[in-house]
Protein backbone atom coordinates (compact mmCIF):
# COMPACT_ATOMS: atom_id res chain seq x y z
CA UNK A 1 0.00 0.00 0.00
CA UNK A 2 1.38 3.44 -0.93
CA UNK A 3 1.52 5.94 1.90
CA UNK A 4 -0.10 9.28 1.10
CA UNK A 5 2.61 11.43 2.69
CA UNK A 6 2.83 15.02 1.61
CA UNK A 7 5.98 15.97 -0.27
CA UNK A 8 9.02 17.53 1.36
CA UNK A 9 10.46 20.96 0.64
CA UNK A 10 13.03 19.42 -1.70
CA UNK A 11 10.24 17.73 -3.66
CA UNK A 12 8.34 20.99 -3.89
CA UNK A 13 11.46 22.72 -5.21
CA UNK A 14 11.86 20.08 -7.93
CA UNK A 15 8.20 20.29 -8.89
CA UNK A 16 8.35 24.08 -9.01
CA UNK A 17 11.38 23.93 -11.32
CA UNK A 18 9.72 21.43 -13.62
CA UNK A 19 6.39 23.22 -13.87
CA UNK A 20 8.06 26.18 -15.58
CA UNK A 21 9.79 24.00 -18.17
CA UNK A 22 7.35 22.58 -20.66
CA UNK A 23 10.12 20.77 -22.58
CA UNK A 24 11.47 19.21 -19.39
CA UNK A 25 14.91 19.36 -17.80
CA UNK A 26 17.99 17.19 -17.56
CA UNK A 27 19.16 16.03 -14.15
CA UNK A 28 22.08 18.46 -14.03
CA UNK A 29 19.93 21.40 -15.13
CA UNK A 30 17.35 20.47 -12.55
CA UNK A 31 20.06 20.26 -9.93
CA UNK A 32 21.29 23.75 -10.77
CA UNK A 33 17.78 25.23 -10.85
CA UNK A 34 16.63 23.61 -7.62
CA UNK A 35 19.92 23.98 -5.76
CA UNK A 36 19.70 20.39 -4.57
CA UNK A 37 22.56 17.91 -4.53
CA UNK A 38 22.41 15.06 -7.03
CA UNK A 39 22.20 12.50 -4.22
CA UNK A 40 19.02 14.17 -2.98
CA UNK A 41 17.60 14.90 -6.39
CA UNK A 42 17.75 11.52 -8.10
CA UNK A 43 16.00 9.42 -5.40
CA UNK A 44 13.20 12.01 -5.33
CA UNK A 45 12.94 11.93 -9.12
CA UNK A 46 12.64 8.16 -8.90
CA UNK A 47 9.84 8.41 -6.32
CA UNK A 48 7.96 11.04 -8.33
CA UNK A 49 8.33 8.94 -11.44
CA UNK A 50 7.00 5.86 -9.60
CA UNK A 51 3.96 7.86 -8.51
CA UNK A 52 3.35 9.04 -12.05
CA UNK A 53 3.96 12.72 -11.24
CA UNK A 54 6.68 12.98 -13.85
CA UNK A 55 7.80 11.15 -16.93
CA UNK A 56 11.35 10.26 -17.95
CA UNK A 57 12.39 10.33 -21.59
CA UNK A 58 15.68 9.53 -23.26
CA UNK A 59 17.48 12.39 -24.94
CA UNK A 60 19.94 11.00 -27.44
CA UNK A 61 22.41 13.66 -28.62
CA UNK A 62 22.48 13.98 -32.42
CA UNK A 63 26.23 14.61 -32.47
CA UNK A 64 28.76 12.45 -30.65
CA UNK A 65 28.71 14.55 -27.48
CA UNK A 66 28.08 11.75 -25.02
CA UNK A 67 25.73 8.96 -24.00
CA UNK A 68 21.94 9.37 -23.91
CA UNK A 69 20.58 11.20 -20.90
CA UNK A 70 17.22 11.51 -19.21
CA UNK A 71 14.81 14.41 -19.55
CA UNK A 72 12.29 14.82 -16.77
CA UNK A 73 8.87 16.28 -17.53
CA UNK A 74 5.93 16.90 -15.30
CA UNK A 75 2.82 14.87 -16.19
CA UNK A 76 -0.75 16.16 -16.04
CA UNK A 77 -1.17 14.28 -12.75
CA UNK A 78 1.96 15.97 -11.38
CA UNK A 79 0.71 19.40 -12.44
CA UNK A 80 -2.68 18.78 -10.88
CA UNK A 81 -1.16 17.57 -7.61
CA UNK A 82 1.31 20.45 -7.50
CA UNK A 83 -1.53 22.90 -7.91
CA UNK A 84 -3.37 21.23 -5.05
CA UNK A 85 -0.27 21.37 -2.84
CA UNK A 86 0.29 25.04 -3.61
CA UNK A 87 -3.29 25.83 -2.65
CA UNK A 88 -2.84 23.90 0.59
CA UNK A 89 0.30 25.90 1.36
CA UNK A 90 -1.46 29.17 0.62
CA UNK A 91 -4.24 28.17 2.98
CA UNK A 92 -1.72 27.52 5.76
CA UNK A 93 0.47 30.64 6.07
CA UNK A 94 2.53 29.23 8.97
CA UNK A 95 3.57 26.25 6.89
CA UNK A 96 4.40 28.56 3.98
CA UNK A 97 6.47 30.89 6.18
CA UNK A 98 8.39 28.17 7.97
CA UNK A 99 8.94 26.17 4.80
CA UNK A 100 8.86 23.08 6.98
CA UNK A 101 8.48 19.53 5.74
CA UNK A 102 4.85 19.20 4.79
Amino acid sequence: MTRSRKPSNATMRILNCLVGNVDGLHGYGLMQDSGLASGTLYPILKRLSDRGWLVKKWDTPSDDSGPPRRIYKLTDLGRKNLEGLRQEQMADPIQLKQGRRV
Binding site: K46, K56, R70
Partner: protein, 181 residues
Amino acid sequence: MTKLLDSFLKFAATKLDESHAIWIEDLRLEARHIPQGFQRQRFLWSGTKSAFAEILRKSVGPKRMGQILLNVALVLFCFVCLVVTMNLADAAMKATFSILLIIYGIMTGLSIFRLKMMKRAAQVFGFGFFFLWVLFGTSILPLTGLNIEFLRAASIEAAAIMMPLYIAGSYLDWVEVADAA
Protein backbone atom coordinates in the same frame (compact mmCIF):
# COMPACT_ATOMS: atom_id res chain seq x y z
CA MET B 1 38.72 10.17 -8.62
CA THR B 2 35.86 10.42 -11.11
CA LYS B 3 36.48 6.87 -12.24
CA LEU B 4 36.59 5.65 -8.66
CA LEU B 5 33.26 7.29 -7.81
CA ASP B 6 31.76 5.97 -11.02
CA SER B 7 32.98 2.47 -10.19
CA PHE B 8 31.47 2.68 -6.73
CA LEU B 9 28.13 3.77 -8.17
CA LYS B 10 28.28 0.87 -10.62
CA PHE B 11 28.95 -1.48 -7.71
CA ALA B 12 26.16 0.09 -5.62
CA ALA B 13 23.69 -0.44 -8.46
CA THR B 14 24.40 -4.19 -8.34
CA LYS B 15 23.79 -4.27 -4.57
CA LEU B 16 20.45 -2.44 -4.66
CA ASP B 17 17.11 -3.36 -6.19
CA GLU B 18 16.16 -2.41 -9.71
CA SER B 19 14.37 0.85 -8.92
CA HIS B 20 17.46 2.20 -7.17
CA ALA B 21 19.75 0.83 -9.86
CA ILE B 22 17.82 2.87 -12.43
CA TRP B 23 18.37 6.22 -10.71
CA ILE B 24 22.03 5.38 -10.15
CA GLU B 25 22.43 4.55 -13.82
CA ASP B 26 20.64 7.79 -14.81
CA LEU B 27 22.97 9.73 -12.52
CA ARG B 28 26.07 8.09 -14.01
CA LEU B 29 24.95 8.84 -17.55
CA GLU B 30 24.13 12.44 -16.64
CA ALA B 31 27.56 12.88 -15.04
CA ARG B 32 29.24 12.26 -18.40
CA HIS B 33 27.57 15.41 -19.74
CA ILE B 34 29.06 17.65 -17.06
CA PRO B 35 32.03 19.38 -18.66
CA GLN B 36 34.09 20.50 -15.65
CA GLY B 37 35.97 17.82 -13.75
CA PHE B 38 35.32 19.28 -10.31
CA GLN B 39 31.60 19.75 -10.94
CA ARG B 40 31.38 16.19 -12.22
CA GLN B 41 33.16 14.89 -9.13
CA ARG B 42 30.79 16.78 -6.85
CA PHE B 43 27.84 15.43 -8.78
CA LEU B 44 29.12 11.85 -8.51
CA TRP B 45 30.20 12.28 -4.88
CA SER B 46 26.73 13.32 -3.77
CA GLY B 47 25.23 10.38 -5.63
CA THR B 48 27.79 8.04 -4.07
CA LYS B 49 26.88 9.20 -0.56
CA SER B 50 23.20 8.67 -1.25
CA ALA B 51 23.79 5.22 -2.75
CA PHE B 52 26.01 4.24 0.18
CA ALA B 53 23.33 5.40 2.64
CA GLU B 54 20.80 3.30 0.75
CA ILE B 55 23.04 0.22 0.93
CA LEU B 56 23.51 0.77 4.67
CA ARG B 57 19.78 1.21 5.18
CA LYS B 58 19.06 -1.96 3.23
CA SER B 59 21.76 -4.21 4.66
CA VAL B 60 22.06 -2.91 8.21
CA GLY B 61 18.64 -1.42 8.92
CA PRO B 62 17.74 1.35 11.39
CA LYS B 63 17.45 -0.97 14.38
CA ARG B 64 20.84 -2.60 13.90
CA MET B 65 22.42 0.79 13.18
CA GLY B 66 20.95 2.23 16.40
CA GLN B 67 22.09 -0.82 18.34
CA ILE B 68 25.63 -0.43 17.01
CA LEU B 69 25.70 3.23 18.08
CA LEU B 70 24.32 2.33 21.51
CA ASN B 71 26.95 -0.38 21.90
CA VAL B 72 29.72 2.00 20.90
CA ALA B 73 28.52 4.48 23.56
CA LEU B 74 28.39 1.76 26.22
CA VAL B 75 31.80 0.38 25.32
CA LEU B 76 33.17 3.93 25.64
CA PHE B 77 31.59 4.22 29.11
CA CYS B 78 33.24 0.93 30.07
CA PHE B 79 36.57 2.10 28.69
CA VAL B 80 36.40 5.37 30.62
CA CYS B 81 35.50 3.53 33.84
CA LEU B 82 38.34 1.09 33.31
CA VAL B 83 40.90 3.84 32.73
CA VAL B 84 39.67 5.81 35.75
CA THR B 85 39.66 2.68 37.97
CA MET B 86 43.23 1.86 37.03
CA ASN B 87 44.45 5.36 37.80
CA LEU B 88 42.75 5.99 41.13
CA ALA B 89 44.49 5.61 44.45
CA ASP B 90 41.48 6.15 46.72
CA ALA B 91 39.99 2.72 47.59
CA ALA B 92 36.37 3.92 47.85
CA MET B 93 36.55 5.71 44.49
CA LYS B 94 38.19 2.71 42.91
CA ALA B 95 35.44 0.43 44.23
CA THR B 96 32.73 2.81 42.97
CA PHE B 97 34.17 2.92 39.46
CA SER B 98 34.68 -0.87 39.49
CA ILE B 99 30.99 -1.33 40.31
CA LEU B 100 30.05 1.13 37.56
CA LEU B 101 32.32 -0.74 35.14
CA ILE B 102 30.53 -4.00 35.93
CA ILE B 103 27.11 -2.38 35.52
CA TYR B 104 28.01 -0.76 32.19
CA GLY B 105 29.48 -4.11 31.10
CA ILE B 106 26.18 -5.83 31.94
CA MET B 107 24.28 -3.14 30.04
CA THR B 108 26.57 -3.60 27.01
CA GLY B 109 25.99 -7.36 27.02
CA LEU B 110 22.24 -6.90 27.37
CA SER B 111 22.07 -4.28 24.62
CA ILE B 112 23.71 -6.78 22.25
CA PHE B 113 21.81 -9.92 23.21
CA ARG B 114 18.66 -8.91 25.12
CA LEU B 115 17.54 -5.40 24.29
CA LYS B 116 14.22 -5.74 26.11
CA MET B 117 16.04 -6.86 29.24
CA MET B 118 18.39 -3.89 28.91
CA LYS B 119 15.37 -1.62 29.12
CA ARG B 120 14.26 -3.26 32.33
CA ALA B 121 17.82 -3.20 33.72
CA ALA B 122 18.11 0.50 32.89
CA GLN B 123 14.90 1.14 34.82
CA VAL B 124 16.06 -0.88 37.82
CA PHE B 125 19.57 0.59 37.91
CA GLY B 126 18.24 4.08 37.26
CA PHE B 127 15.85 3.94 40.19
CA GLY B 128 18.47 2.17 42.29
CA PHE B 129 21.09 4.84 41.74
CA PHE B 130 18.54 7.57 42.33
CA PHE B 131 17.56 5.92 45.57
CA LEU B 132 21.26 5.75 46.56
CA TRP B 133 21.65 9.44 45.76
CA VAL B 134 18.74 10.23 48.08
CA LEU B 135 20.06 7.83 50.72
CA PHE B 136 23.54 9.35 50.69
CA GLY B 137 21.93 12.75 51.23
CA THR B 138 20.34 11.66 54.47
CA SER B 139 22.07 10.74 57.71
CA ILE B 140 20.43 7.30 58.01
CA LEU B 141 23.56 5.33 57.15
CA PRO B 142 26.70 5.61 59.28
CA LEU B 143 28.98 6.56 56.40
CA THR B 144 31.53 8.57 58.30
CA GLY B 145 34.93 8.59 56.70
CA LEU B 146 33.59 8.14 53.18
CA ASN B 147 33.53 10.83 50.53
CA ILE B 148 29.77 11.29 50.50
CA GLU B 149 29.87 14.10 47.94
CA PHE B 150 31.69 11.84 45.49
CA LEU B 151 29.30 8.94 46.11
CA ARG B 152 26.29 11.19 45.59
CA ALA B 153 27.78 12.60 42.37
CA ALA B 154 28.61 9.13 41.07
CA SER B 155 25.15 7.75 41.85
CA ILE B 156 23.23 10.66 40.30
CA GLU B 157 25.49 10.52 37.24
CA ALA B 158 24.88 6.78 36.81
CA ALA B 159 21.13 7.33 37.28
CA ALA B 160 21.22 10.07 34.64
CA ILE B 161 23.06 7.76 32.21
CA MET B 162 20.45 5.03 32.71
CA MET B 163 17.69 7.35 31.53
CA PRO B 164 18.91 7.81 27.90
CA LEU B 165 19.76 4.11 27.82
CA TYR B 166 16.13 3.34 28.65
CA ILE B 167 14.94 5.83 26.01
CA ALA B 168 17.33 4.33 23.44
CA GLY B 169 16.09 0.81 24.26
CA SER B 170 12.45 1.89 23.91
CA TYR B 171 13.20 3.67 20.64
CA LEU B 172 14.96 0.66 19.15
CA ASP B 173 12.02 -1.52 20.15
CA TRP B 174 9.68 0.91 18.50
CA VAL B 175 11.80 1.03 15.33
CA GLU B 176 11.33 -2.72 14.93
CA VAL B 177 7.57 -2.42 15.23
CA ALA B 178 7.48 0.61 12.90
CA ASP B 179 9.63 -1.22 10.35
CA ALA B 180 7.28 -4.19 10.34
CA ALA B 181 4.25 -1.94 9.87
